[in-house]
């Protein structure tokens, strides 16, 4: 394959390898991937055990809270995986080298998404498996829809992550804290722990504009009504496509702007 080919899996692989090397050489980074999902699962596991005997709603589907928190972690970690893989390049002042190499921007973005998938899988799967012996709740009982929920939330996390990268490219490292907090703006309107119906009417309108509401309502439909809401999955998919398109467009605009202002050379700690 020519080194200047339009798409090179080898270049994408090289960028993934760069992050794998980083994790291999830095145990705190590797530990951080599994630490928070497991800790959150443990907290919500005990909360679930308490509420199962004190809340008739939770008692109807004992795992609802723990499954909800694990799925929320998919979104959060998915976004964090994209944004942090980018921040690693900024912290190491490596962007200039990357963007004068044959690596194309879309190959770079693909590598960020691949790293996000790896980070989410490594973070969530151990927490989900640990919940089985600890609390006797298995998220895998959601069955095939779980793959849909996982994919839809991961894709929304990517869309948010791409928008955050765009913002950091524009504002510099002063905006890096957004990588931690930005996605939480979706949490009150996503119906993670409660049905969308309890939100004020005007907030419900906003909530249904995001795929997260469909995913968490869909999860509860499986748990409480034993029903797979295909309509929710499809609507969430359509919204994901829109948000990924918006995130990619903002990132491309921001990248072009960085090439105009020289930000790719100047960025660093």
């Amino acid at each position: 394959m020519s080194a200047s080919s339009v798409f090179s899996p080898r270049r994408v692989g090289a960028m993934v390898l760069r992050h794998i090397y980083l994790f291999r050489g830095s145990w705190p980074r590797a530990f951080e991937i599994v630490y928070w999902p497991i800790l959150t699962m443990v907290l919500w596991g005990f909360t679930s055990q308490f509420l199962v005997t004190n809340s008739s709603w939770v008692a109807r589907a004992g795992g609802v809270l723990i499954y909800a928190v694990l799925l929320w972690e998919v979104l959060f970690r998915g976004q964090l995986g994209v944004a942090f893989s980018f921040l690693e390049e900024m912290w190491s002042r490596n962007l200039g080298h990357l963007f004068v190499s044959p690596l194309r921007p879309y190959e770079w973005v693909l590598s960020l998404l691949a790293m996000s998938f790896i980070r989410v899988t490594l973070g969530i799967v151990p927490a989900a498996l640990l919940a089985i012996p600890l609390y006797h709740y298995s998220i895998f009982t959601l069955g095939l829809p779980l793959i849909g929920f996982f994919t839809l939330l991961l894709a929304m996390g990517w869309a948010v992550g791409l928008a955050i990268i765009a913002l950091i490219l524009r504002q510099g490292l002063g905006a890096e804290n957004l990588a931690w907090v930005a996605v939480f703006v979706l949490s009150p309107i996503s119906g993670i722990y409660y049905p969308i119906a309890i939100l004020p009417h005007w907030m419900q309108w906003i909530a249904w504009c995001f795929p997260t509401a469909y995913v968490f309502e869909g999860m509860r439909a499986v748990l409480f009504q034993n029903e797979v809401r295909l309509d929710y999955l499809l609507e969430a998919l359509a919204l994901d496509v829109v948000y990924i398109a918006i995130g990619s467009a903002i990132l491309l605009w921001s990248f072009r702007r960085a090439r105009r202002t020289g930000a790719l050379l100047q960025m660093g700690e």
Binding site: Y21, R93, V100, L265
Partner: protein, 249 residues
């Protein structure tokens, strides 16, 4: 001259109110080592960034190895490379890991062999498995040079290649670059304000001041033209805005 490796026409870069590069024109032929020489803020790094396509010009055009760098840079990026003290390699990766990653990015075949050869040539073997961030300034410069040579580039752009190096290491790097150019026929453009370096390595010099090329020629020709003994004296004349005639008196 056959088709130039670098051809710059009317190149201009404005950052809001600041005119960093002001309508410059130059061409560099194959196998030549040339320098952009000027003080801080003269526009050297900005020019190199536009040559790489990392920075979009406000006006003008850049052609590198026959490609328009605004529209078609990915066609030629595998054939060029770059090193700068202001752009670093990931500190937490070992030297070998960094070179493997960049070898794959540049599509280098037989990357292990290439790393071994570079390690031997640049005396990196003993710290190939050390983290890049733990190396001394001189060692980091040699690693950056290894990264810049990983794809055996036809065009090498070097921004201040020996800045912050002790005289011994600086001399060693300059010697290596001379040998590399002689062996491969590579074209080298360096931005520098080290006069000795430029006199030793370069056959063409573009003197920059306030974003413009104010003079050009071989180091010897420039020294003659200004009636000076060294390129450093020529540099000072230009930096202080003394015209040629006055400078020669």
């Amino acid at each position: 001259m056959s088709e130039p490796v670098i051809e710059v026409t009317g190149l201009t870069k404005r950052f809001e109110e600041t005119l960093a590069v002001d309508h410059i024109d130059f061409a560099i032929g194959r196998g030549v080592t040339a320098a952009l020489l000027g003080g801080n803020g003269a526009g050297k790094t900005t020019t190199i960034s536009m040559l790489l396509g990392l920075l979009l010009p406000s006006e003008g055009s850049v052609r590198v190895l026959g490609a328009d760098m605004q529209r078609d840079r990915y066609r030629v990026l595998p054939r060029m490379n770059f090193s700068s003290p202001y752009v670093e390699l990931p500190h937490r990766l070992t030297v070998r890991e960094n070179l493997r990653v960049y070898g794959a990015l540049y599509g280098v075949r037989g990357v292990r062999g290439r790393i071994a050869a570079l390690a031997r040539d640049l005396q990196l073997t003993e710290f190939l498995d050390r983290k890049t961030g733990n190396l001394s300034a001189g060692q980091k410069t040699r690693v950056a040079l290894a990264k810049a040579l990983i794809n055996e580039p036809e065009l090498l752009l070097l921004d201040e290649p020996t800045v912050s190096l002790d005289p011994d290491t600086g001399d060693w790097v300059r010697g290596y670059l001379e040998t590399y150019r002689a062996r491969t026929g590579c074209t080298i453009l360096l931005a520098s304000h080290n006069m000795g370096e430029v006199e030793r390595l370069c056959s063409e010099v573009f003197m920059m001041r306030k974003g413009r090329i104010v003079d050009r020629g071989s180091p010897e020709a420039l020294i003659d033209r200004y009636g000076r003994d060294t390129l450093e004296e020529v540099f000072l004349d230009i930096a202080r805005g003394r015209p040629r005639a006055a400078a020669a008196q």
